[in-house]
Amino acid sequence: MSKNITNFIVTILLACVLSLFLPWWSVMTAALTAALFIPLNKAAVFFIPFLAIFLFWAVYGYMLSSGNDFTLAKRIAVLLPLGGNPYVLLLVTGMVGGLAAGIAAILGKQLSLLLKK
């Protein structure tokens, strides 16, 4: 259990740091690295980094947008189209980041198994 929490925290921290100088796929790098050094088991391999990045992106997006009355988020939620609801856009944003991170973490886990040998 504590391994799950460690991986969760490390993934977020790495993602925050890497996002300073890498493009959007920094979250994939973060999740992959975290999975390499703190490998998890079964469904947690995917879901812990998924959750970590989901929260990171959704919360950060919320912080940027809420102060501006979701002016742009509402428009982008028309564009995509998500019924003009900015919260749905936050949800989609989190899921996009989470999905990318989760899948990268699976690769990290497989690599860690290879290295262990």
Binding site: W24, G61, L72, Q110
Partner: protein, 805 residues
């Protein structure tokens, strides 16, 4: 098994990376687009309006005060710094639009959007947009390096902004389309001016008229397309004295004949709703004793709006008004001494010549010999595809737009375009000089540089003068020259020269106490040069002039009322006649209801009326029935103008054009009234069933569409505003008063202004569309005309631009 899982994980990872990093059709690269640290979430902000910014090349600091409308009030120490600041600030608030409009002008949209824009790009290049911009730059390099240096300053300012822009702060459209801003060069300012020239002086009907002449004969043609309508109220009042003009009209050659080809299709024309109003009253006609001036250019209602309001000042002058992203100086505005504004002064400045080529199309026939063709290779880059190369042949007339490679199947011939837009020149200088002008004489000398698009420049000064010049570079044509396709091998058909600038039509301090223009006929028949009806407007001008003749003195409120005047003169000239002459015995109950609705209409296109919707339907159907003769497959034709259509319906109702060809019966105008009414009623009932009613606001559904094909997310729909085309409040579905300005010539002037949009180009800013509601309601904002760089209570933020060295 382990390796299988590893490979599967690797493939999945690469797959998700690719899927989220790539643009699919109109779907942006979703990972790039949505991540919160470089994606659209970063655009959830207003532009910074405080602090200090370093700009390379500035000579001194520039103070920029922002008021609550986000209008920047710029105080620079010299002209070079001023234009650097203008470039920088325009880029800061409107970067994407700034670039996009010049891409559109240059025929480069395929680079951004992909293959879907290829037809657009080919058309713009064949029209010679890039060629015209090159000509303008070449002219300035030879004749006016000072103006070119200012244009370079503007470019430096734009680039200063682009260079310090972090990709995460790119405007949202770049993220959506997945591309980056490029360096701004002086040619882009020339391209922007070409864009305006195309919009306002890029239309003609020569080829359509050639078809009409061939199909219907000269008598019919002259009846349908008269040079002057039976009643005209020209911009320059009738009975003006032209005796000072000592140059005569070019004599008509004897051997004149139109080339009566069958022309299948022509290139897209500018929107017919482009137009404008302006007027000014003298001190004697003004309640306060000060002249008052107004301007409202009717252009596409786009987001971001075409206008960006700025105050631009140096120790030598101080101007405020509407600027256009990409062009220097204030375009429609005022300074401490004068006010000015423009309406479009259309004239036939595009002519078409049929040219014959030799066998390998390297030469063309001219004056009984062969001239060399020059080739301009247009290399159109296409996003995600190989470039498309189009070789455009150039003659001394201009580009051969139509040939076997474009909208024509003539193997060894083509149609060359002669356009004043290709002539080069330094149009930009007019605005730089107008911004500095102190009186009438300064205004007149500023106008001399203006070639195209020809404009009616209205003027008022604190000294008490009012004036209006129709300024442009106009060919001195022989009677009838250029109405139809001409033989390009005959030198007599070439433009033989231009009307000397000082003989352009003008009026200063007329007795009637006001000047006005609304795209109508510039002059009456007595003007000693050939001017024929180039689609002149026939309604707004009469409403405006009648208004100013209606009483002795006028004030600001009168000006506001006139801007927002919804009187439909056009309908008032036909509806009563139709109601009187239509046989109503066969009307059903539903039709009678509509009949009574329009009968009680007072001809105001207000938002809650149903009359305007009935009129639109009724007249629209009627117009198509009258001119069914013009609906011929594979033939480019334009039906006659509304004014003449209404004239014929009322005065020539039994003419054979009234007949509907498809039916066995011979219809007259009266039959058409009824047939059209019944069709209209059916359509109106359908609308009622679908939408609940057909009140004007809903029926019209005015919208301000984003420049990218009116993307709904970034556009505003169902804006509740009355008016329509041919009405002083000329708001149709997507065109209308794109900038309403009223300036009273107090010292210093006091002014009101508003436009449908907002100062910010960022859809994530509250300043993106915050003027629209007030604009629709007919309200105005006071323009804060600061007299020096001291902060006042109206200022909400100050940014200082500093030299970086």
């Amino acid at each position: 098994m382990k390796y299988f899982k590893l490979i599967l994980a690797l493939v999945l990872t690469l797959g998700i990376f690719f899927a989220l990093n790539t643009k699919f059709g109109s779907i942006p690269p979703i990972g790039k687009f949505l991540n919160p640290y470089t994606g659209v979430w970063q655009n959830e902000t207003d532009e910074a309006i405080s602090g200090e910014v370093s700009i390379p090349g500035l000579k001194a600091k520039v103070t920029v005060h922002y008021d609550a409308q986000l209008i920047p009030h710029v105080f620079a120490e010299n002209d070079h710094d001023l234009f650097k600041a203008q470039g920088y600030l325009t880029a800061k608030h409107r970067l994407w639009q700034l670039e996009f409009q010049t891409y559109a002008s240059a025929g480069r949209l395929s680079e951004i959007i992909g293959e879907g824009a290829l037809n657009h790009d080919r058309r713009e290049r064949r029209r010679g947009m890039g060629y015209g911009a090159d000509q303008a730059i070449a002219y300035m390099e030879t004749h006016d390096t000072e103006t070119l240096a200012y244009i370079q300053d503007y470019a430096d300012g734009v680039n200063a902004y682009i260079n310090q822009l972090d990709p995460k702060n790119y405007p949202v459209e770049y993220k959506l389309l997945d591309y980056q801003p490029e360096e701004w060069v002086p040619k882009k300012t020339a391209l922007l001016l070409m864009y305006m020239t195309k919009m306002l002086a890029g239309g003609d009907e020569d080829l359509e008229k050639t078809n009409a002449l061939r199909l219907f004969g000269k008598d019919n043609f002259d009846l349908l397309f008269p040079d002057f309508f039976d009643s005209t109220e020209p911009i320059i009042p009738k009975e003006s004295d032209w005796s000072f003009i000592d140059v005569s009209q070019t004599e008509r050659p004897n051997s004149q004949q139109a080339v009566l080809d069958t022309i299948r299709e022509t290139i897209e024309q500018p929107h017919p709703d482009n137009g404008s109003n302006n007027w000014a009253i003298s001190g004697e006609k003004s309640v306060t004793g000060n002249p008052i001036l107004a301007n409202d250019p009717h252009l596409g209602l786009n987001m971001p709006a075409i206008w960006f309001v700025m105050q631009l000042s140096t120790p030598n002058y101080n101007a405020l008004g509407a600027t256009i992203p990409g062009a220097l100086s204030v375009i429609s505005g005022f300074n401490q001494h004068i006010a000015w504004g423009e309406t479009n002064a259309t004239r036939d400045v595009i002519d078409w010549y049929k040219v014959q080529f030799n066998k390998d199309r390297s030469k063309y026939k001219y004056n009984n010999s062969w001239n060399d063709v020059t080739i301009r290779i247009e290399d159109i880059k296409i996003k995600g595809k190989k470039s498309y190369k189009d070789s455009v042949l150039y003659t001394h007339h201009g580009p051969v737009v139509y040939d076997k490679n474009f909208k024509s199947d003539m193997e060894l011939a083509g149609y060359a375009m002669k356009w004043v837009g290709h002539e080069g020149g330094n149009n930009q200088k007019t605005f730089i000089e107008l911004n500095k002008s102190k009186n009438y004489d300064d205004y007149v000398s500023a106008l001399k540089y203006w070639n195209a698009p020809a404009q009616n420049f209205v003027f008022a000064s604190t000294e008490g003068d009012i004036a209006l010049w129709i300024q442009g570079k106009f060919p001195n044509k022989w009677e009838g020259q250029g109405k139809f396709l001409m033989d390009g091998s005959n030198p007599e058909n070439d433009w033989q020269g231009f009307i000397p600038q000082e003989f352009n039509a003008k009026v200063k301090n007329p007795e009637r106490g006001f000047v006005s223009s609304a795209n109508q006929h510039p002059v009456d028949q007595n003007y000693p040069f050939f001017v024929f009806n180039d689609g002149y407007e026939t309604y707004r001008n009469r409403v405006i002039n009648e208004f100013f003749n209606s009483k002795a003195k006028f004030g600001i409120q009168d000006f506001k009322d006139l801007h927002n005047n919804n009187y439909n003169l056009k309908a008032s000239e036909l509806v009563p006649y139709m109601l009187e002459h239509m046989d109503t015995t066969s009307l059903t109950d539903d039709e009678n209801l509509i009949y009574n609705e329009i009968k009680s209409w007072q001809f105001n296109n207000d938002i809650d009326e149903v009359g305007p919707s009935i009129w639109r339907q009724w007249y629209g159907k009627l117009y198509r029935m009258v001119w069914d003769e013009f609906d011929i497959e594979d033939t480019a034709l334009d039906a006659p103008f509304t004014y003449q259509t209404i004239y014929l319906l009322k005065n020539n109702g039994n003419h054979k054009f009234m007949d509907i060809i498809e039916t066995d019966k011979i219809e007259t105008a009266k039959d058409l009234f009824l047939l059209a009414f019944k069709d209209a009623a059916k359509k109106l009932d359908t609308i009622k069933n679908e939408k609940g009613d057909y009140k004007w606001a809903n029926y019209k559904g005015t919208y301000a569409g984003h420049l990218l094909q009116a993307l709904p997310a970034f556009s505003r729909f169902d804006i509740p505003i009355g008016g329509d085309r041919n009405i002083v409040n000329a708001t149709s579905e997507d065109h209308g008063p794109s900038w309403r300005m009223i300036v009273e010539m107090t010292s210093p002037p006091t002014a009101l202004g508003i436009y449908p949009g907002g100062q910010s180009g960022n859809p994530g800013s509250k300043y993106y569309d915050n003027f629209i509601d007030d604009w629709a309601a007919g309200k105005y904002h006071s323009l804060n005309f600061l007299q020096n760089d001291t902060r006042t209570a109206a200022i909400i933020g100050t940014q200082t631009l500093k030299p970086s060295n």
